[in-house]
Amino acid sequence: MTTPLVEAEGLVKRFGDLVAVAGIDVRVEAGEAFGFLGPNGAGKTSTMRMIACVSPPSAGRLRVLGMDPLRDGPRIRARLGVVHQEDTLDLELTVRENLLIFGRYFSLPRPVIRARADELLAFVQLTDRADDRVDALSGGMRRRLAIARALINEPELLLLDEPTTGLDPQARHLVWDRLHELKATGTTLVLTTHYMDEAEQLCDRLVIMDGGRIVAEGSPRDLIERHVGREVVDLRFTDDTERDAALTRIGTDGVRAEVLPRRLVAYTDDGDRLVAGLGTAGLHPAAMVVRRAGLEDVFLTLTGRSLEE
């Protein structure tokens, strides 16, 4: 059996009295795309920083690429790529200079860096902006440049902290597309996100974090089927009395529902049957949507809160 690229047991990160990561167990195998999904403050960045060997764990065991981050930090980092949540590019340098300088941090020979820089600029579709200052780039272009920069040392493991947060849908799809391409060519990806569609798109396996803990783990399909069932019926009512009546009705069918103000989110394997049942009982919600269950619903079920509040 090959050694996992990331192996954490009881991993803890404290900042003074605040517990940012409260003992998590994680294993990331070579070649997979692994995600940390969670709301603001869940501890995603704190976890990523520990894996990137720039933040010593407060407790627990952590191995990255089979080595100890405390002892072998520089050797591990030589084989990682990191894309930060916030921009860390050199704004006053050009796009290409950002890559050339970064390659030197890994002590790569200049001709090698130049060749890779050209390839990477093509890969992230920034070739025509190579000689522009980063200042002049859009948010999506900067994020793509950050990804290109993180690849300059041909890392075995690429860490991406919220790779598409703040980007418009088109820019997000461009980034996703590039990450799919990397996945296909065998780069191991570890990413954080608070978008469930991103997690569903990109991750083979993910953990849902909340308050520094892992509340669920599995593949997106797995998690959805295990925790919510195939379909979701989202019902809106004009008042809570109607809502409660509907809750009682569907409860007799053994269907579980999340109760929100003037709203019910019901989890079932057959949405149409549930809707028909309500009609027979003379209950008519103000609005009604039947959709496929997603990770959002998993999060709601597990924590009673919506992921994006």
């Binding site: 990137a52 720039v54 520089p74 980092r77 030589a78 930060h84 590019l89 340098l93």
Partner: protein, 259 residues
């Protein structure tokens, strides 16, 4: 902890040089123009007044006296400019240091790199100063190029503690205070423009607390070609300041970047 100086330090210097290159026209202009302006104003302007009075300062023309003083003071200014706001930018505004430490580089390498870079820049500035001073007649000794090395040492003796301090700050609110209360008085009273002997007797010992004074003394010894046995001690003081601030800076950079 990583080494104090090594290939990793050089990588950080390469980054600093790349950023600087974007501005090189501006800075080369400043490198040459500043010495010319300062030496002309001080050497010929003030020097003219001195010539009408006693004629000499410390046994030489005023131009010859003030050239090494200005050179060391300029090194201090370079260091202050490179080590406060740019460090805040690397830590917080642009966060470029955070990117550096995700590579094999560590916080101590970043610190050593920026201090060394500042020293190198000030050495280059010192060479220009020596050349301009020689052209204007303020530099006569063949030992004068050594003064450029002194400028580098002086700059590092300011860059190290200032960068170490900057890494402890959340905002740049205190930086102007440091400039006004620290850098400007040192600039004026470290034997730069007039001999310390001109100060009231009670103030004179204060020079020993000014790193700039040691730099000025060493630079002046070089440009005037005057050897005296206290020079190695003065050089050792600057080195000691760099080493002490080095211990501090390696710690503050690490604490700030590796949390």
């Amino acid at each position: 902890m990583s080494r104090w100086f090594g290939p990793a330090t050089v990588r950080v210097i390469e980054h600093q040089a790349a950023v600087q290159r974007r501005f090189w026209r501006g800075s080369v202009f400043g490198y040459v123009l500043n010495p010319v302006l300062f030496l002309a104003a001080m050497g010929f302007g003030v020097g003219g007044l001195v010539a009408e009075g006693s004629g000499k300062v410390d046994g030489v023309t005023y131009l010859a006296f003030v050239t090494p003083g200005l050179m060391a003071a300029a090194a201090m200014q370079t260091a202050a400019g490179e080590s406060l706001w740019p460090v805040m930018a690397g830590m917080k505004w642009l966060r470029t240091y955070h990117a550096m430490i995700t590579t094999p580089l560590g916080p101590a390498d970043v610190f050593a790199g920026i201090v060394t870079w500042t020293g190198l820049r000030a050495t280059a500035g010192g060479l220009v100063f020596v050349a301009v001073g020689a052209a204007l007649g303020g530099v006569r000794s063949p030992w004068a190029p050594l003064a450029a090395g002194v400028a580098g040492l002086t700059a590092a003796a300011f860059a190290a503690p200032l960068a170490a301090f900057a890494a402890t700050q959340e905002t740049d609110a205190r930086f102007p205070v440091i400039m006004r209360v620290g850098i400007v008085p040192l600039f004026l009273f470290s034997g730069t423009f007039f001999p310390v002997a001109q100060l009231p007797a009670v103030l004179r010992p204060a020079r020993f607390a000014s790193p700039l004074w040691y730099g000025v003394e060493l630079a002046r010894a070089a440009t005037l070609g005057r050897w005296d046995p206290t020079l190695p001690v003065k050089a050792a003081v600057l080195v000691a300041v760099i080493l002490a601030a080095g211990v501090w800076g390696r710690r503050t950079f690490t604490r700030r970047l590796v949390q």
